[in-house]
């Protein structure tokens, strides 16, 4: 496979994942804003941060308001992480790797783009927001579905999965990075409504609310939430889950190619080092420090994959 094609697949799936994550963060922000007693637009700053969309916002808009934040994350093309930008970038990469993906995957991606262009052509009103977000998510979910249903399990599939799970791990780490303080034992005045809302925000931002309730019922505090989002190997957005998937697909590439590149070592180190600890050890080490280290390792892993598989020159 061409290095360029591996690169295109990697980014196509990263952008699809990112589009979905950003859409979910907007939904969460909107929901929290609606259910809070005292409304403060400042909460949107942390949503923007969680979406990695803060850079550039202040030059694009005069004030931080809910409408501006949503518009920026949803459809502003100056924001490379807006849902619209991500879907366009995913589709552009899909065109680039058209020969590697199945016709079904291409058509689903192309259709997702056509739908997004139509839905996001004009400012989305508050009334239309839930339906718009739902349709955007359905569209990216369809791409994932046909990917799983029609693509051969070969190197092409491996690169698409590695892109997906690196982006997902990155997203989970970023959300934890922004909100880590509400999970610290010291600051948790257990039972106050603020913390409940904050915990709820984190769980919703990662589609983890249902899973967490299933696991912990009405109980469970910050320690359990951290455990669930970082270490639980059944939770499809946890750092451990994503790291395992990355290792699996890198491993298939190693078998396929008969060589073991440095990226495989970095991925193994991530799993066997930081992610092999218990949640108590992580708290002892420092939750914030732990998340920052995880983020750095993910960035280094991305760079190494680009090198090992000749994405660029």
């Amino acid at each position: 496979m061409l290095g360029k094609t591996a690169n295109g697949l990697f980014w196509m799936y990263r952008y699809l994942e990112r589009a979905e994550n950003t859409a979910r963060l907007i939904e969460t922000g909107q929901r929290i804003a609606l259910t809070r007693l005292s409304q403060s637009d400042e909460e949107w700053r942390s949503v923007l941060q969680s979406a990695g969309a803060l850079p550039g916002f202040d030059t694009a808009y005069e004030a931080l308001t809910k409408d501006n934040a949503i518009d920026w994350m949803l459809r502003n093309q100056d924001n490379p992480s807006s849902v619209k930008s991500c879907i366009a970038a995913a589709r552009q990469n899909a065109r680039l790797v058209r020969t590697a993906i199945t016709g079904d995957v291409w058509e689903a991606t192309n259709a997702a783009h056509m739908t997004a262009e139509k839905l996001l052509a004009r400012k989305v009103t508050e009334r239309d927001l839930p339906n718009t977000l739902r349709r955007l998510r359905e569209n990216t979910a369809l791409v994932r579905g046909v990917t799983l249903g029609t693509m051969l399990r070969n190197e092409i599939f491996d690169f698409s999965r590695i892109g997906t799970f690196l982006e997902r791990a990155d997203n989970t780490a970023r959300i934890l990075d922004v909100k880590y303080y509400v999970l610290l034992p010291a600051s948790s005045a257990v039972g106050t409504s603020i913390d409940n809302v904050q915990w709820e925000t984190i769980l919703r931002s990662l589609s983890a609310r249902g899973g967490f309730r299933m696991e912990y019922g009405a109980g469970g505090g910050p320690r359990e939430i951290a455990q669930f989002l970082i270490l639980d190997s059944r939770m499809p957005r946890s750092l451990s889950f994503c790291a395992k998937k990355i290792c699996d697909n890198l491993g298939y590439l190693c078998q396929d190619y008969g060589t073991r590149p440095s990226a495989m070592d970095l991925a193994d180190d991530l799993r066997q080092g930081p992610l092999a600890q218990s949640i108590d050890e992580i708290f002892e080490f420092g939750l914030h420090e732990f998340i920052q280290e995880a983020q750095q390792r993910l960035a280094a892993l991305t760079q190494q994959i680009e090198l090992d598989y000749r994405f660029y020159e």
Binding site: L2, G3, K4, R95, L96, R98, G103, E107, M114, E313
Partner: protein, 474 residues
């Protein structure tokens, strides 16, 4: 305006339904126009979803557009096609023999059939190719011959496309769309399939592999990139053949071979189906500014390390000034009378011809010798006085840059319009594959249709559309 007494391929010149359309017409008569209108919209959606788009040049943001598709097929009988095929094969063999000759001994010049300066002073003549024998002796692996029709048996060659003819993806997708929308038509009519084209292309390219190829040849398609107007087609063909689609930055010369950067390192390419013009092919040997080619590929080529399809320097064969010599070329190399006619052509480089053209400008079509895609041409009968006088100045300034032809009364084929069936002018580009062993014409081709009533310009960049082209079994 030209008088509209042209030949209609469905109704002839006298309004009697022609045989190849009989079955189709029965079907059409029974159809509810409402259903057909809905199908028409459905076709457009299918095209958009599949992403069969082309990018429009000359716009700030390369915008993707659809080429309008018309659901009424153009139907050619098996016997008509057989005659046409013989003429096309003859012409394509002559083109390859001509290319070999002018890059070697130039017998045709020595025989006085073509003036020396037509070759030596022609911009499309590539000195780098002198004395080079391409692998398998094939210069034009893929050719598109543009034909127009003026009567039941009268076909004329308008243009030979011997560089990098495009449009074959539309031939294939148009058929695919028709099969999906009107399967019943294909059980009622025995339409010769075009779907084998990608496999034939791969086989044909592989057969022309260089001596350096080891085992099963590695074929790749070279595209200028995602913003090129025909990117969809490049990706489509690579996909259909199951080969890599490469760009300049994927390639470099490694150990005397052109190689592509894969996730496992550099891998040599045996046959490169390039969709990049000669001038941009090699910054070391041609345009040094080019970012679309491969530095040193010409040296690899001359050393027999790669097959480039089509070969560099084939442009001289489809040059519009050389075109006027085509009848002589066919005769010279095949020893036969040309089976396909040329459109009569005035070479404005010749003083007598220029004088005639200037006198009759409002009746003629004048084309740039090196132009393509309908840009920079004058259609006398439909031009305003101002346009004519502007063009006259250009023509007088550089007469050698132009040829002129009479305005032919092009045949029409009906399109499906709001008013039902309405005749529109068409042309036809059949696609020809040349391998060391054989010449193979795909039964069908790309029918381009001028969607505006009375218009003769069929180019997609100027408001033309396309149709599925059927060749019936005998």
């Amino acid at each position: 305006m030209v008088e509209d007494v042209n030949f209609d391929e469905m109704w002839g010149s006298d309004g009697d339904l022609r045989a190849p359309y009989r079955q189709f017409h029965n079907w059409f008569d029974e159809e509810d126009p409402k259903r057909l209108r809905a199908k028409n919209r459905e076709a457009e959606e299918l095209f958009r979803l599949t992403g069969i788009t082309f990018n429009v040049y000359g716009r700030a943001e390369a915008e993707e557009r659809l080429i309008p598709f018309d659901i009424i097929p153009r139907i050619i009988s098996g016997s008509e096609w057989q005659r046409l095929t013989r003429g096309i094969e003859q012409r394509v063999r002559a083109i390859n023999a001509f290319l070999y000759d002018i890059y070697h001994k130039q017998e045709i010049v020595k025989a006085g059939r073509i003036p020396q300066e037509m070759i030596s002073r022609n911009e499309a003549f590539l000195p780098h190719m002198i004395g080079v024998k391409p692998p398998g002796g094939v210069y034009t692996h893929i050719v598109g011959i543009d034909l127009v029709r003026t009567g039941p048996g009268e076909f004329f060659v308008l243009e030979d496309n011997a560089r990098t003819p495009s449009g074959v993806s539309y031939m294939l997708e148009n058929r695919e769309t028709m099969l999906q929308m009107f399967p019943e038509l294909f059980s009622q009519n025995r339409v010769q399939p075009v779907q084998n084209y990608p496999v034939s292309l791969l086989r044909s390219l592989s057969a022309a592999a260089p001596a350096a190829a080891d085992g099963k040849p590695t074929v790749a398609v070279l595209t200028p990139g995602i913003y090129n107007s025909a990117y969809f087609e490049h990706a489509f063909l690579a996909d259909q053949m199951g080969v890599e689609l490469v760009e300049s930055h994927d390639l470099r010369v490694v150990d005397g071979r052109v190689a592509m950067r894969t996730t496992r390192g550099y891998k040599p390419i045996d046959v490169l189906y390039r969709r990049v013009d000669d001038d941009f092919l090699d910054p070391l040997n041609f345009n040094p500014e080019s970012q679309l080619g491969v530095a040193g590929i010409m040296d690899v080529y001359r050393a027999g390390g790669i097959t480039i399809a089509n070969a560099p320097g084939t442009g001289i064969a489809d040059d519009k000034a050389i075109y006027s010599y085509m009848p002589e070329i066919v005769e010279f190399y095949t020893g036969e009378r040309p089976l396909l006619q040329n459109v009569p052509t005035w070479r404005c480089s010749e003083p007598d011809a220029l004088a005639y053209v200037l006198d009759h400008l409002s009746e003629l079509v004048v084309k740039e010798v090196h132009g393509s895609g309908g840009y920079g041409m004058l259609i006398g009968p439909t031009s305003s006085k101002k346009e004519l006088s502007l063009f006259r100045k250009k023509l007088e300034a550089r007469p050698g840059n132009y040829i002129a032809q009479p305005t032919l009364s092009l045949s029409t084929v009906p399109i499906f319009s709001k008013a039902g069936l309405s005749p529109r002018h068409v042309d036809l580009r059949p696609f020809v594959l040349v391998s060391p062993e054989s010449v193979n014409v795909t039964p069908g081709g790309l029918t381009r249709v001028a969607l505006k009533q009375g218009s003769l310009v069929v180019n997609s960049s100027q408001g033309g559309g396309t149709k599925d082209t059927w060749v019936l079994e005998e």
